[in-house]
Symmetry: C2
Subunit: 171 residues, 2 copies
């Protein structure tokens, strides 16, 4: 179960409980609830809050395999586009090449990927998943499926699709 502010029960569950709670406690006890004021009109504010909550759930769910969102996206892209260069992967994901170089070192250390000399261009490395990487990715995908199930739990299947389709237009 996922929640935005550490509350259990998801959005709808929390609303239900709040509606049921008698409004007799003094304000100081009920958690005073500050005015968000202008923040209410900023897409970026709510986008950030939700993004942080989702990444936290992702990291919590993927903790058994110790994989973070950026690493996951790199593994998926290498698996789906074998043989591409670091530059290509980095560009596609918006990861800076210096950062990607270090991340690939780490993935290489774990024996999940390998860099081979590229055929045509002596400068670039062709990236591949190893057999171990392929196996690890299967386990990782099982966990990300659980993460997405928790997203459905948090927002409801219909709202999740609506949000996904809306966001995809900008990605």
């Amino acid at each position: 179960m996922v929640s935005l502010n550490g509350r259990a029960g998801g959005i709808r569950g929390a609303e239900r409980r709040q509606a049921r709670r008698p409004q007799v406690l003094p304000a100081a006890q009920t958690e005073p609830s500050l005015k968000l004021a202008e923040l209410n009109d900023h897409v970026g504010y709510f986008l950030r809050r939700l993004q942080v909550a989702l990444f936290k759930d992702f990291m919590r769910t993927l903790a058994p395999v110790d994989v973070r969102p950026a690493q996951y996206s790199v593994l998926i892209l290498i698996a789906a586009n074998p043989g591409r260069s670091q530059a290509a992967i980095g560009r596609a994901l918006g990861i800076e090449r210096a950062r990607l170089a270090r991340m690939l070192h780490e993935l290489e250390r774990r024996k999940w990927i390998e860099r081979r000399a590229a055929a045509g261009d002596g400068r670039s490395h062709a990236l591949f998943l190893t057999a171990a990487g392929d196996k690890a990715l299967a386990r990782i995908k099982a966990l990300t499926a659980r993460h997405e199930a928790q997203m459905v739990d948090l927002m409801g299947s219909k709202r999740r699709m609506l949000l996904l389709e809306l966001l995809r237009e900008f990605g």
Copy 2:
């Protein structure tokens, strides 16, 4: 003008140009375009891409006053809720108290806020904007209005509202 991948012209502008562009160039020249594969089904992936793009635009637009998103949210909350404690502000925004303490030092150094001993509780500080802080915030708000105008430019007014309303349900 804002864009997600450094392209100029916004989403709709880019689409228009792409539709006009003749499809005769070799794939290697056109920017190969990798498969996103499973990433296409993750809300978090697109959420993150958009959030990073929005924050970049925010920082670019607010650069003249050197204010970052988190600082802005703190200033807005202090202005709308004068006299509240650091703990209350931090809880409302999901900012860890250690981090908030340092951020408030910086805002105090710039003479935008002040901490007074709280009335009832000897442990906590009541936060207020100074007159200079109030004046600075007016200028800051003018720049955030420009930022939001750029958001409208990026996504269209209707889509921005739809996204805002959808996200607010989770904030």
